[in-house]
Symmetry: C2
Subunit: 223 residues, 2 copies
């Protein structure tokens, strides 16, 4: 907050809920851009995608003033701003640790490259898999080569798709290899040193939440 001028809040104060929504806004804008829409108001953006107009404006305020009063936002212009805020300039190279069914499916998932995340390496400990490739052509390396490959390939994010008991040590290895961002698919929590960010995709929690809904459907709300 030192060099920040008083008026502008600055990115370091935006909550994770806000930044998650930026991804959603970006997706909506790309959609609109593909449909040829050039300009949009927070109002109609909210109406079309089930969002809240005031929240869109407030979320954006943390990072600057991107709109034109009386008009709205430039679809392509705002999308470019959001990409810059989210650090999506060049494609981001990612690795998948754990070359089981799930790991290989993630490495070959076509949605990732489309969104600017390129899987360039799989890692595993099973000798039988080392040196092979996923169906989509992502090479499988031994875990011990993680630091070297991370450096050589410019990998920035690790996806952890190993059984729960191995998740912590795999995360440790990722951190030791210099990675600062981990997407963890293993159930449970992994702890990491300050400065490293972990996001969890906890399928058990999601499914049990649905089970709860089924068990209490009589009075539950929809969403």
């Amino acid at each position: 907050m030192r060099e920040r001028t008083k008026g502008r809040p600055g990115p370091e104060q935006a909550s994770e809920l806000t930044t998650n929504r930026l991804s959603i806004y970006l997706r909506c804008l790309d959609h609109l851009s593909g449909a040829g829409v050039r300009t949009i108001s927070s109002q109609s953006l909210a109406a079309q995608f089930g969002l809240n107009a005031a929240q869109i404006r407030k979320d954006l305020t943390w990072f600057g003033e991107f709109g034109v009063r009386g008009v709205g936002y430039s679809v392509d212009g705002l999308a470019a701003h959001l990409r810059q805020i989210l650090g999506l300039g060049d494609p981001i190279r990612i690795a998948v640790i754990g070359a089981g069914n799930l790991g290989q499916a993630l490495a070959d998932y076509p949605g990732f490259p489309r969104d600017g995340f390129v899987p360039v390496a799989l890692f595993d400990r099973a000798a039988a898999k080392i040196g092979k490739h996923s169906r989509g052509g992502v090479p499988i390396y031994h875990m011990k080569r993680l630091p070297a490959i991370v450096r050589k390939e410019g990998i920035r994010i690790a996806l952890v798709a190993v059984p729960a008991p191995s998740a912590q040590q795999v995360a440790n290895a990722a951190v030791a290899a210099g990675l600062r961002a981990i997407l963890n698919f293993a159930p449970g929590t992994v702890s990491v040193p300050p400065g490293v960010k972990v996001k969890n995709v906890d399928l058990t929690v999601s499914l049990e939440g649905l089970a709860y809904h089924l068990a209490n459907a009589a009075h539950a709300k929809t969403q």
Copy 2:
């Protein structure tokens, strides 16, 4: 404790954040039970797993009084209560719609049966896949057979693992087949009628959140 007096809040008021945490508590308790722990206080449960003791107690309060003052909670007893609250009595049969790499990996994911969710069917529209099985032996049916198989197999939850453009119509089909709980892996939102619950696993939002962290790591918090 007896019946529903006005004092007891009741399950219909617990928020989704609370019920998600119940899953986590259950996982911790199973861990402790496996380690032979018979009794635990909210205090030490919180300390061991990085939770907040007051929050654990408050979360549980929505559903009853499960603890013993001065002692704590019975590990197995509380786990049994949570399982009942979450509707985890018998194994819950699930279907995966979309027999691509991701869909098949989900159908064969060993963590699901372990947690009481049994994939019994895959669905797809590609003629080449119909009649085959996943590596793990889950049969692949044509989408048009969804209603019949759902009924015959007692399927309760659909996992949607199809490309984004098909997600909405697949969700519609799932609802039409009588399903009331959907776990959606396709990017974007699907809308469903009241009474149907959708949870989204949005990998793009997660990855872009990590990208944001990488771009702003200088002042970002750890977790």
